[in-house]
């Protein structure tokens, strides 16, 4: 029998249905893989007992012909999703040993559909980071290495644990969240597929909040089809999230293999940056050629406010974060540093509990919202955001079905290599992805090739609001042309 961990979700679904193996066998194979890959630091909490119990229960259901769309599929869950009776920390010291008495809507829908939870995955603290180096559990290691090198590389972030675990065959798919690129950038760094759905497509209820107008949950998987399978279970209206949109969830998988003939694909000239590595430029042209060969029409488009998306993001996101993170006060849950007065208790707890990056963002957010600076910074950024969104609307109004861009400005880099002296150096990782969050659009990152050092690179497709299906159809074309990439096992 082939190694069960190398199957795709679609293949495992068939194997389970035809009784070639059980969910318990599939789950055990993944639990063993996780144990053997602890050096990657992808999981911050393994839940083997719960995984086996869930697998046994779902095996009984499959036997009775009652398995759901994800029956028996073992998944990893980003530690930003609240899981009932299972420690949830957002990888921050300030949440300490928080054990939620409730389950996030997205994960509850996965369990409803029969998925099995293997454990909780590492991420940047409160999802603030692009390298998974800000986690209080330490950095995640990318299973990919440069050819002929032992240098430890980051998997990207903030969903670094999700991307690393999926790439290293530790789970069949994973939940992730994306506020400025946190699904798509790590997917590109690890040759996995990452989907950031339209804002409002997946419920944010029960997900630790970072920036509420930008946060969106989505899947990371090994194929476009697998990501479509996961999306169908994760998406859907939830009365508990007022920004969740009340429209039906399509069968995303049906979009796989659908013809893209005649679709107009925009190539935004503003994404061609000065000093962009030649291999990124080449990858982008190759992607365009694949779509053209599949019958799509390529059109140069202009998104004039692109360069302002990242600076506007670094006002809006920290502002919302400073407000959301005000709840961590050492009183109701999490860490508490004792003090003589309530004021000191707040200040000492937050000083001790927040890491450097989180503290930096809470402070800048506090500043841009403070009296006298609100108009100059926050209000201006919100107006620029309107312009960024309008750029896309104008483009789609001209009949453009989707926009093709590189996913990241570079391949994965080394641990400790970026952002040490200048935080903005790290922020530039999200230059191609952050526009999508600012406009609330869906985006997908698909592996498309490798750089000269053998590291994976990804392409991004940006879609119209609530038209994830077109992204799955186009993503499949890229995947068919580029092939799939698996890291050689060294861990």
């Amino acid at each position: 029998m082939t190694d069960l961990t190398s199957l795709t979700i679609a293949e495992a679904r068939e194997g389970l249905a035809s009784k070639s193996f059980t969910s318990l066998e599939l789950t055990d194979a993944h639990l063993a893989a996780i144990e053997a890959a602890r050096s990657l630091n992808a999981f911050v909490l393994e839940t083997p007992d719960q995984a086996r119990a869930m697998a046994r229960a779902v095996d009984a259901k499959i036997a009775k012909g009652e398995g759901g769309p994800l029956a028996g599929i073992p998944l990893g869950i980003k530690d930003l999703f609240a899981t009932r009776d299972v420690r949830t920390t957002a990888c921050s010291k300030i949440l300490g040993n928080f054990v939620p008495p409730y389950e996030s809507t997205v994960t509850s829908q996965l369990w409803r559909d029969g998925a099995v939870m293997l454990g909780k995955l590492n991420n940047d603290e409160f999802a603030m980071g692009s390298s998974n180096e800000t986690s209080c559990f330490g950095p995640v290691v990318n299973p990919w290495r440069r050819e002929g090198s032992n240098t430890t590389l980051v998997p990207g972030g903030s969903s670094g644990g999700s991307a690393s675990a999926v790439a290293a065959l530790l789970c069949m798919g994973a939940t992730a969240t994306d506020t400025g690129g946190s699904i798509r950038q790590p997917a590109a760094f690890t040759a996995t597929v990452g989907v950031k759905p339209t804002y409002g497509r997946c419920s944010r209820w029960g997900i630790v909040a970072f920036a509420s107008s930008l946060d969106q949950a989505g899947p990371i998987a090994r194929t476009v089809r697998d990501s479509a399978i996961l999306m169908r279970s994760m998406a859907g209206h939830d009365p508990k999230d007022t920004t969740s949109v009340d429209i039906g969830v399509p069968d995303y998988e049906a979009a796989i293999g659908k013809s893209v003939k005649g679709m107009k694909i925009g190539i935004p000239k503003e994404y061609r940056l000065d000093g962009m590595p030649a291999e990124i430029e080449k990858l982008w042209s190759e992607g365009a050629a694949w779509l053209k060969a599949a019958g799509a029409e390529l059109v140069e488009v202009s998104l004039p406010h692109t360069k302002y998306a990242l600076p506007a993001y670094y006002i809006v996101a920290p502002a919302e974060a400073s407000s959301n993170l005000a709840r961590y006060d050492g009183v109701r849950y999490g860490l508490r540093v004792p003090a003589r007065s309530i004021g000191e208790l707040y200040e000492n707890t937050r000083a001790e509990g927040f890491g450097d990056e989180v503290r930096r963002r809470v402070m800048i957010g506090t500043y841009v919202l403070s009296a006298g600076y609100y108009d100059a910074y926050y209000l201006r950024a919100q107006k620029v955001r309107t312009l960024i969104k309008k750029d896309f609307e104008d483009c789609f109004a001209k009949g453009i079905s989707a926009i093709l861009t590189p996913a990241t400005p570079s391949a994965a880099f080394g641990v400790g290599e970026k952002g040490g002296a200048d935080p903005v150096e790290m922020y530039l990782n999200d230059i191609f992805t952050v526009t999508v969050n600012m406009a609330g659009l869906p985006g997908i990152a698909v592996p498309a090739g490798k750089d000269a050092q053998g590291l994976p690179l990804g392409l991004q497709l940006i879609g119209r609001p609530f038209d994830e299906e077109t992204l799955f159809s186009l993503g499949e074309v890229v995947e068919q042309a580029a092939g799939r990439f698996t890291p050689p096992r060294w861990w």
């Binding site: 008495p101 804002y199 006002i315 503290r359 809470v362």
Partner: protein
């Protein structure tokens, strides 16, 4: 715009994060780097542009103003660092 040391201390207090004197110069440098980065927004013409306040064009949904949850005090306090009889404990606030 840039911030001075006194402003850094004021922001830290507003954010309720204790900052030592030794940390102030470093934080000041970081905050000023970020402010310099976002400064480029001042070149955008925003005359007559409405601020984006809702990502999806839809009316805010409202629920009925009724009690639909509750009677779960054990769940509410179960993660609290210090409690007594279903109350959160804090240092003395009123003398």
């Amino acid at each position: 715009m840039s911030v001075d040391a006194a402003t850094v201390r004021r922001i830290a207090h507003l954010a309720r994060i204790a900052v030592t004197e030794a940390e102030v110069p470093h934080l000041q440098g970081e905050l000023n780097t970020m402010l310099a980065f976002v400064e480029q927004l001042s070149e955008v013409n925003i005359d007559g542009v409405e601020p984006m306040t809702s990502v999806t064009p839809m009316e805010m949904k409202k629920r009925q103003d009724v009690v639909n949850d509750g009677e779960i005090p054990d769940d509410i306090v179960r993660n609290a660092p210090e409690t007594q009889n279903h109350f959160f404990l804090v240092p003395k606030v009123v003398e």
